[in-house]
Amino acid sequence: MSRRASGSFTRTFLGPGAAAAVGAILIWLLFAGAAGSAFRSMAGTASYLNAAAPLGILAVGVALLMIGGEFDLSVGSIVGVSGMSVMLLTTELGWSVWPAIAGTVVLCLLIGFLNGLTVVRTQLPSFIVTLATLFILRGLTIAAARGFTSRTQLGGLDDISGYEIARAVLGSAPVGGLRISIVWWLGCAALATWVLLRTPWGNWIFAAGGQPEAARNVGVRIGRVKIGLFMTNALCACLVGIIQAVRFSGADALRGQLQEFYAIIAVVIGGTLLTGGYGTIVGAVIGALIFGMVRQGIVMSGIDADWFQVFLGGMLLLAVFVNRTVLVRAQRAS
């Protein structure tokens, strides 16, 4: 009896990730039909992959964190911080591009560290803590931009030394309109998958989200794991901010707004449980891909872009419903 029960358990368990893959195929077919060759062409493919890449990078960090049982609503604001930091360090403080990027990475890691430390120390829900940092960081970004330049949109990164290489590495579109950010996206996803499935850290991340007390009882330092996850997540957001600053040769203090929600949606569509302890990076990649296809597909089909949000919300509800079914099964089994 237990043998059969566990068999169906495993099968349902593979469900959500697989469901997202099936969903991605259906959505591709839908827009391949509705938008015709514009969507199926190389240019169309590049357009939705390019749209998916930045969100996909965020989704990798958010997925790791969500599997570890926490949220970070400040990722969108960190994107804003990161782009603005690169611009201010270069155009206002006279640094060249690479030192500015290095400084920005350190700044974002510090932000992630503080987010994590606050959550771990206060034991407050990360939802609330990072909702606070969402506003604090956004406000600081705008204030810093205004304070230095009296503007909130800065340009001119292309005049700074080191820009050419940075552009090649972070902001170029080397083949067929495909942006190099897609490489970063898939690279981050591959690395995260390896860490999650093949290193002790991955084991601790699953445990941190699944049953932190049990993990503590066998000596896992959950606090460190969580702080590490917040820092990783901030690093992903930082990368997105830097890529966009390089690509547009400038930054906007408002960049990244709403991205925290889009990233969470992509991760949830990809089958990661909101309550933590279960999920895949591949699922998050597919979630971001779906996001990109819907966003570009709607435009290419000539549908009013307002419908994008309706579509996105609908898919989120559907995904949460599927996930909950999984959770109920899992709990019944235990």
Binding site: S6, F9, T10, Q211, A214
Partner: protein, 272 residues
């Protein structure tokens, strides 16, 4: 339930003799782990008052008591979760002051908590090695030796009489008894010298309880000092070598098995 129905009973006498023959002669009288005059207060709540107990190598020491008697509190003191308000713990006769469960674990004191032993959504092998993952490779390529984990998990569980279909199946798909067995197997595999089990049979049916009791006995027969917490005298009696009964934070009995028939044990727990 008659204690003769428990299969543990029949074979128990033999291995117990073996355990006594192990080379601990000079230490025979020094308990592996001892709680001496432990008092524990949470604000105004007195959870333990001068509690004393000792766990010897190769023996099952049962800790009994009604709900709220202080059983969990006492083992948490032993396991390094709470530093006691008063009193001390002695490991091999030497005073120890654990500041965290990790420290106790490093000294060979493993604790299996009833609900908090496993991560249900994780696979059996991931649970088995959680916190002590064997790795291969160097530097940034250091990774879990997954093949070895799977194999080892399979071997260890087979040795406990559990046939796993697949070490990749989630622990949540195992029965409660199987989960306790995995936790016990894990503790033994990582060289526990003291094994503390908090109500491992509480949520289990008759058949599964029997299996878990066999594992408890088996652990003691391997020379481990086992502390078995329960509030079911019928579970404690067939496997226990010594019984410590707590009532409202005080030890009201501390007797070897010979001195306490099961009826008397039950009466002691409920307060005569």
């Amino acid at each position: 339930m008659d204690d003769a129905t428990l299969p543990v009973e029949a074979g128990a006498a033999q291995p117990r003799l073996e355990a006594q023959d192990k080379p601990h002669h000079e230490d025979r009288d020094v308990p592996r782990l001892e709680a001496r005059d432990i008092s524990m207060r949470f604000g105004k709540v007195v959870a333990l008052e001068n509690a004393h107990m000792a766990a010897h190598a190769g023996e099952v020491t049962c800790l009994l008591g009604d709900n709220g008697a202080g059983k969990s509190t006492l083992i948490k003191v032993l396991a390094g979760v709470h530093p006691p308000t008063e009193g001390a713990c002695l490991l091999d006769g030497e005073a120890v002051h654990f500041l965290s469960p990790r420290e106790a674990l490093n000294r060979g004191i493993a604790t299996v908590y009833q609900d908090l032993a496993m991560v249900p959504l994780m696979s059996v092998w991931r649970n088995f090695f959680l916190g002590s993952e064997p790795t291969t490779g160097r530097g940034p390529f250091r990774r879990i030796d997954v093949g070895r984990c799977r194999e080892e998990t399979h071997t260890q569980l087979t040795a406990m009489g559990i046939e796993l279909r697949d070490p990749d199946q989630p622990v949540g798909s195992l029965s409660g008894g199987e989960r306790q067995a995995v936790a016990i197997a894990r503790a033994l595999h990582f060289g526990a010298r003291v094994l503390i089990l908090d109500e491992p049979t509480a949520a289990l049916g008759l058949r599964q309880s029997e299996r878990v009791l066999e594992h408890v006995r088996h652990a003691a027969d391997r020379g481990v000092a086992v502390v078995f917490v329960t509030h079911t005298p019928h579970h404690a009696h067939p496997v226990g070598d010594r019984f410590v009964v707590l009532r409202r934070g005080r030890v009201v009995a501390n007797e070897p098995r010979e001195a306490l028939p099961v009826e008397k044990l039950a009466a002691l727990m409920s307060g005569e």
